[in-house]
């Protein structure tokens, strides 16, 4: 008969043990799992990303309900174990179930440590530990504006970043004088603080909280020094405490966690503990890498397979906040016997420090560029003697030098991705069997590097190792494309510095790897040059995609579509007649009303395009361009009984004002006359919603592939302010976004608060407005330009028919 295995805690550590066990010996146990949370097992590490809006809740589920069924596991979700009887060998649950076991695993994890402040029980005061907490924060952000996070460590900063993305203001309160002091030295910490301030976080350092203010719900926080702040949401991220209550009551030996030996046995036979609730050789870990290593050992022990003992884990930290790159491992402060080697490039925001004791690396901080992390990790892991190395080489990318210590020498079952427990063997196998070509693909298939991203360099090395020369890692970085190793920002800097003015010149000076670039970098460079030199730059038509080059959208049969401007979606009988006549005359097969409130003539032959434009005598609607597209409107107060403003009038004005403006990606706008929002202003790049006595501006909305509701940028009083704000906003976008990046992604990357700050800065705003004026002043209707030039018609629109 099968033995009975009970697992308490349906979390990352416990379920990982079960997964391993099933692989080793699926028939040994009848398995029962109790989980207090009402969800199947999910990836807790990714909660930060869920909060920040990078991924959705359901994508972080690790084992769905079907998995438990398929593996014959009895799962009690939302049910807590309240008692262990080690004599009778049973557990008792909150609903009174009594379940016998032969072997028992305790994997109850930890809870957020809540400071025992007066008022801590109020609504709106939470920790950041589970899905429930995420939901609470998301909900609070809908109603409330101000949040405070207590604790400036990894978890606190990730919480704060997420809250910013939810559109709330956030103060981070920290007891010590600098952030992440358990991972960073003061220099790195300052750099981090500055970067996060630019993202819109506000820091209150050396502040000790003394009381939570408010009635039923928290409204603020008071400090020991007598000062206070407003806050409707207070997140405590000051530490975790292992859930040991159950173990203690069962009579287990408990220190900080439930004490276990090298095979994860507690002080009572047949009871094991694993993960954050366990204490091994005096350490209770708070990261996932150790729990996977513990899990592998425990699974083997339970399966009856031989296992090496668990001897502790080497852990590193990586901050999961977009826009900052922070890696830390081991020791990082100088002492008598520990020396540090540092590189500090304040200009590019890079700081690296490696700590050495007795010719061995014992720790490191990498800020701004963590590409050396793999090498340093293996130096530490292998306790490599570095006496023969030039010490500064530790911090420079010496190619080849990494090979002897890198992933090649790891054994197949060594864990590469600590967050998701993916081993070297898993990754290499997936690369080979599924012919994976990039880190992205490996991430999709194995989830390695999908969480904190710290193992990205190692995954990249494994690709090189497995694929050899077929793998080109330079394609991977945030490099513009495979033609260059430079990033967008680096390239723009050089263009400005050296005043480069042609696409080919940029490629030449920056030593492009291809002779003439590719379909990615050429249009991008053409855009950047035009944006930097609005007046002087001469557009390079050959570097544009067909639609932008032809000023019409290509169809699969080689014909084109023509969409004239219908400003604000408002037309006239005369204009409609004209469209009808032209459509008939040129036998245009399809006339369609678009989703953008205008009319599309589809199926126009290339050689007819110029005639069609000429006879329409209308402005190009830029339906093909990375440019201003439509401005949708509703009827507004002209007719509508709810209207509070002239939506049509304002929409038409905006479309005329910004028409032809070229942008990193297409820009769509809408104006609605009241909050009923019939023009769908909430899912536009810029949406205006009139309210009584003013206008709300929404930005970063998108109705396409990844639907995103716009963020409220600002509320203004007059139409003039609407236009001015949009002008400054769009110019900021034009200057800082990557080519091809819609405002929705751009707003997420920069953070709404940081954008608001730029627009509120008077000097910067003036500069942006001036630059926008300059940009707008030099555009001409592209259809007209072609109509006026016989040469253009011949070169671009002619089709040659050779007589037989």
């Amino acid at each position: 008969m099968k033995k009975k295995l009970v697992l308490i805690g349906n979390g990352m550590a416990g379920v990982n043990v079960i997964e391993h066990l099933l692989k080793l010996n699926a028939d040994r146990y009848d398995i029962t799992i109790f989980g207090e949370e009402p969800h199947p097992n999910y990836n807790r590490v990714m909660l930060s990303k869920v909060l920040a809006g990078d991924v959705s809740m359901d994508t972080i589920i690790l084992n769905n309900d079907d998995w438990y069924v398929e593996n014959d596991i009895t799962l009690y979700k939302g049910e807590k174990v309240t008692q262990i009887d080690s004599e009778a060998k049973t557990v008792v649950s909150s609903t009174g179930k009594v379940v016998p076991y032969d072997d028992l695993i305790i994997a109850t994890g930890s809870s957020a440590f809540m400071l025992p402040l007066p008022g801590v029980e109020k609504d709106g005061v939470i920790g950041f530990r589970d899905m429930q907490d995420c939901e609470t924060m998301k909900k609070a952000a809908k109603t409330y504006k101000k949040a405070a996070v207590i604790g400036g460590g990894l978890l606190g900063l990730e919480a704060a970043r997420g809250i910013l993305n939810l559109g709330m203001e956030v103060d981070v309160i920290h007891l010590g004088p600098h952030l992440m002091e358990r991972q960073l030295d003061p220099t790195a910490s300052h750099m981090l603080q500055q970067a996060l301030e630019q993202q819109g976080m506000n820091f209150l350092l050396q502040k000790q909280s003394s009381e939570i203010l408010g009635g039923e719900r928290a409204t603020g926080l008071r400090f020991q020094d007598g000062t206070s702040i407003d806050a409707d949401l207070i997140v405590m991220a000051v530490g975790i405490k292992p859930n040991v209550q159950l173990g203690r009551e069962a009579g287990l030996h408990v220190g900080r966690g439930i004490v276990v030996n090298d095979v994860l046995e507690t002080s009572i036979p047949h009871i094991y503990a694993v993960g954050e609730c366990a204490e091994h050789r005096g350490i209770s870990y708070g990261l996932v890498a150790p729990l996977f290593e513990q899990g592998a050992v425990l699974a083997k022990k339970l399966a009856g397979t031989e296992t090496a003992p668990y001897e502790g884990s080497l852990v590193y930290s990586k901050l999961k906040v977009s826009g900052v790159d922070v890696f830390s491992i081991g020791e990082f402060m100088e002492q008598d016997d520990v020396q540090g080697i540092t590189i500090h490039d304040a200009y590019s925001g890079v700081y690296k420090k490696v700590m050495i004791r007795d010719e061995k690396v014992v720790g490191a901080i990498l800020y701004g560029d963590s590409s050396d992390s793999t090498r340093l990790l293996s130096f530490i892991k292998n306790e490599t003697n570095i006496a023969d190395l030039k010490k500064t080489d530790l911090l420079t990318n010496v190619d080849g030098g990494t090979e002897s210590v890198g992933v090649a020498h790891m054994s197949d079952d060594e864990i590469i991705c600590g967050c998701n427990g993916v081993s070297k063997g898993d990754i290499c196998q997936a690369i080979k069997e599924q012919q994976l070509q990039s880190v992205e693909e490996v991430k999709k298939v194995t989830s390695a590097s999908g969480s904190c991203g710290g193992c990205r360099p190692q995954v990249s090395e494994l690709l090189t190792l497995t694929l050899g020369n077929d793998y080109d890692s330079s394609k991977e970085k945030t490099k513009m494309c495979s033609c260059t190793d430079y990033s967008r920002d680096e390239i723009l800097e050089v263009i400005k510095d050296k005043q480069l003015t042609y696409v080919r010149e940029v490629m030449h000076v920056l030593e492009w790897k291809t002779e003439e670039g590719c379909s990615k970098c050429r249009p991008a460079l053409n855009y950047y040059l035009g944006m930097i030199y609005p007046k002087q730059y001469e557009d390079d038509a050959t570097s544009r995609f067909v639609n932008e080059r032809m000023h019409a959208n290509i169809q699969k049969d080689g014909t084109f579509s023509v969409v004239p401007r219908i400003y604000g979606g408002v037309t006239t009988p005369a204009a409609l007649k004209k469209i009808a006549e032209v459509a008939e005359k040129y036998h245009i097969p399809t006339v369609k009303v678009t989703g953008g409130q205008r009319i599309d003539l589809l199926g126009v032959k290339k050689e007819d395009l110029t005639n069609v434009w000429e006879e329409l005598d209308m402005a190009s609607g830029y339906a093909y361009g990375k440019a201003l597209r439509t401005v949708k409107t509703c009827v507004g107060d002209t007719y509508c009984r709810f209207g509070t403003a002239d939506a049509m009038g304002l929409g038409i004005h905006l479309e005329k004002y910004f028409e032809r403006l070229e942008t990193p990606a297409k820009v769509k706008m809408a104006v609605s006359g009241c909050p009923r929002n019939c023009a769908e202003s909430g899912i536009k790049d810029v949406g205006v919603v009139a309210i009584d006595g003013g206008f709300e501006l929404y930005v970063g909305g998108n109705g396409g592939v990844n639907v995103r509701a716009g963020d409220h940028l600002v509320t203004v009083k007059t139409e003039a302010e609407v236009v001015e704000t949009i002008a400054a906003y769009l110019q900021h976008y034009r200057e800082t976004a990557h080519y091809g990046e819609r405002t929705s992604t751009w707003v997420e990357r920069f953070g709404l608060a940081a954008i608001q700050e730029v627009l509120e800065n008077k000097e910067e705003r003036e500069r942006l407005l001036l630059a926008m004026q300059q940009a707008l002043s030099q555009y001409k209707d592209p259809w007209k330009k072609v109509i006026e030039s016989k040469e253009k018609q011949k070169h671009w629109y002619e089709v040659v028919s050779v007589p037989e």
Binding site: Q437, T514, E515, E516, G517, C518, S519, R522, P523, T542, S543, R544, F545, V546, R549, M550, I554, K556, D557, G558, K606, K794, H795, W796, E798, V799, V800, S801, V802, E804
Partner: protein, 110 residues
């Protein structure tokens, strides 16, 4: 892939009418031919038909010896007609020459 068993040279256009970095569609005996001029002035001709979906390639972006299909960005070698890996396929190419200011194509006789 160049079919040259037997071919007939046809004049298709003035050399100066084809801009560097562009393509032009030529129709001959009901066949569509895409004629391209690279940035360095070299002239190429190939069937106007992408191996991916069979749609036209003449409006693609040209870079060096390659044209990027305007439909889904397949990268096609204008000389050999081969599609760059990891995609696959091959387009029929024709020999070209420039003489007396005219672009000429070797059109196969079938």
């Amino acid at each position: 892939m160049t079919l040259m068993n037997s071919a007939q040279w046809i004049d298709v256009m003035n050399e100066k009418d084809l801009l560097q970095g562009t393509g032009k569609k030529v129709v001959y005996k009901g066949n569509e031919i895409a004629v391209f001029k690279a940035m360095n002035g070299d002239v190429f001709a190939m069937e106007n038909k992408c191996p991916h979906k069979g749609w036209g390639i003449v409006d693609g972006m040209i870079s060096g010896k390659h044209v990027y299909c305007p439909m889904h960005d397949r990268k096609i070698n204008m000389d050999s007609g081969l599609v760059e890996k990891p995609d696959t396929g091959c387009v029929q190419t024709f020999q070209t020459e420039v003489s007396n200011g005219k672009i000429r194509i070797a059109f196969p006789i079938t």
